[in-house]
Symmetry: C3
């Protein structure tokens, strides 16, 4: 999907849409190989491609991170803003605080990744997006971002695309 | 929808509901003109009206903010609490910190609105709500709130209403 | 659902699934009696049971907290991590700050629970999860957690299960 196909002020003024028919459900997976401990990846084009290929014309798509330490959220895709997002996550949830999840007396987790669990909780692990006229509904600057919070790792996202087919 | 039509403890004890049929999908838009930079608007009655008029009896409704700096979330609609919400957002994400998104050396954004991007990320840009017996499912004190975080502006929300029709 | 039935790397490599048919919508309620003011409860097995019993094979399930001060989110179910989550919530939103919602000059709420409203807002009041092959789609360590933030109380969650039936 190009930015120009996103719903915008002009489209908002168009008549309401109503559609009826049989239900189509399509399951897909997306994988990402991350390179850093904390890393943001823009998957908008990949999710848009799955929606376009699904033959679902009007409906919803759920995008789900299969990991506790990997989040999915909406924001602008800009390098400077992504640096600010990482800074805020570090300020809100310190990596080096004496978290119990990192304490071998209380936890058998050897990744010492309490910060990653807590940061993912604040961002959220899933999005449920809209599909209209066979395309993802997004605002002009909105992009679907995946937050790796305990990488580098291979990550899996599942997409459930559901609605009225072509 | 009035508060009395929300699902409550009494209804929770009622038998389970099961319904089957053809799928209906209805797309709608809501616009809001905000007056302040940071402002909370209760859109519950407008969303309930869209659901009631949609002819969807059992299903889901996705409410999506078309903007990176405008959020949608659930809470009580009370003036004092809304002041607390704004205070917390200001404390968690300072407006005047030296965010890279506001730095002309790193960003071409002239709105200096990094705080708005970061605050919206914490609140979330969408809700997926339930529809039962043709009405929005909400708890007694739950209201659907829109957070303007970089106003005043005209804002658009899209509603995708999906389920079994009348 | 056992952990082994969750979607994992192996399943991610399987062919795409596509299913079509009539729409089934099932409404259910879950109740929880909490014992502490702030308490996390793992409801994964109960939600999985509702999905299994619903006869929905491919679709979505919305899980909705009917309360402003009770949240639903995803994380690992580990005692040490849950202590860290409670600590972070206390650090991010102080209970004893002079919130207006707790001030009788500005609010008629006698529960003095502004912190609970604000903490729930950060965690979120709902999840929309995927159903595939009749089971909840979750990563290996992902569990569905309910956060009581102003207990002890009796809490109600509503599940809307929607998709293609058996």
């Amino acid at each position: 999907m190009t930015k120009s196909s996103a719903v915008n002020a002009r489209e908002a003024a168009e008549p309401r849409s109503t559609a009826g028919g049989g239900l189509l459900v399509r399951g897909e997976t997306l994988t990402i190989q991350t390179k850093d401990r904390v890393e943001l990846t823009d998957v908008t084009d990949r999710v848009s491609g799955l929606v376009r290929d699904s033959a679902v014309r009007e409906g919803l798509v759920s995008l789900w991170s299969m990991h506790t330490t990997c989040a999915v959220f909406i924001n602008e895709s800009q390098k400077a803003l992504h640096a600010d997002i990482k800074r805020l996550l570090e300020e809100m949830v310190e990596r080096e605080a004496d978290w119990m999840h990192n304490d071998p007396d209380h936890s058998d987790c050897d990744r010492l990744n309490a910060d990653a669990h807590l940061r993912a909780m604040l961002l959220g692990h899933s999005l449920t997006l809209q599909i209209s006229s066979g395309a993802l509904v997004l605002g002009q600057w909105q992009r679907v971002l995946v937050a790796e919070l305990d990488g580098p790792r291979s990550r899996t996202l599942r997409a459930q695309i559901m609605g009225i087919g072509d």
